[in-house]
Symmetry: C2
Subunit: 158 residues, 2 copies
């Protein structure tokens, strides 16, 4: 994803879709724990997790929330989007190795205010919904086309 | 936060509160960008951010969502909590150096199902609300008291 391009409010159409996928590795769990401070053992401790309903380590629920926000910011509407609200229903756990695909669908455009609502559904590699919900955003007025910023390397020292 | 202890469904009372605070540094922005894949320049590029409504770099909205989920998982009800749903209204931006405090308040207990709803309000160091919303969780049945897992060191190589 080296080039970023947005859709302005005027360019968006009801029914328009976009997808964004990411695979959950051990690194993602550790980084999400570090950034949020949530070191709950169901995410980090395989022995503890084996005693839970899920029987194995699972992703933080809000990790998938982060993928939904990334899809909005990077794909549809893309750069310049301002996040106003989100509903999230956590339907199934996300497990190590799962590839989560967020599918966005434009539901409604509210002219004048430039607000847009989108269906935000995250599914796993088996096609099962893991998180469902709706986003509300302020869509960009101006076209943006730019190189994607690059991140510094991150090393987890085990 | 070296010791984790939860509140079981039976122990929770309507009106019970808990707080959880974290300060946003450059590291948190980079780690959230890495884990979500959201490298939107409003978070990472000071020059681009200076051209936006916010005039400076801001946190990913879902970073504060992550703090809310951490508060639920670590504090109230704590370990063993299963996240069912969350609404989020993004009211103000979170800027570098801001200290965000999530305050949780038990709104309702639904017996039989062990569901609990909580008000989830995040404020900045000026007392202004940055994110508001409501969480729904399945509260733990069993008491948990345990040492908090520790994370490996994370180095950002600038």
């Amino acid at each position: 994803m080296n080039q970023l391009e947005n859709f302005t409010f005027d360019e968006l159409t009801v029914g328009q879709t976009a997808e964004y996928s990411k695979t959950l590795g051990e690194d993602e769990i550790i980084l999400f724990a570090a950034v949020s401070g949530d070191v709950n053992p169901v995410h980090l401790d395989a022995d503890f997790a084996s005693t839970t309903l899920f029987r194995e380590r699972i992703a933080h629920g809000m990790y998938t929330g982060g993928l939904i926000s990334a899809a909005l910011a990077m794909k549809l509407p893309g750069p310049g989007t301002i996040y106003l609200g989100q509903t999230l229903k956590f339907e199934r756990p996300v497990k190590l190795g799962d590839t989560i695909t967020v599918r966005l669908t434009v539901l409604e455009k509210i002219a004048g205010k430039n607000h847009v609502s989108l269906d935000t559904t995250a599914t796993n590699q088996h096609g099962k919904t893991v998180v469902s919900g709706t986003a509300t955003v302020l869509a960009p007025k101006e076209k943006v086309r730019m190189e994607s910023p690059t991140l510094p390397d991150i090393k987890i020292q085990r």
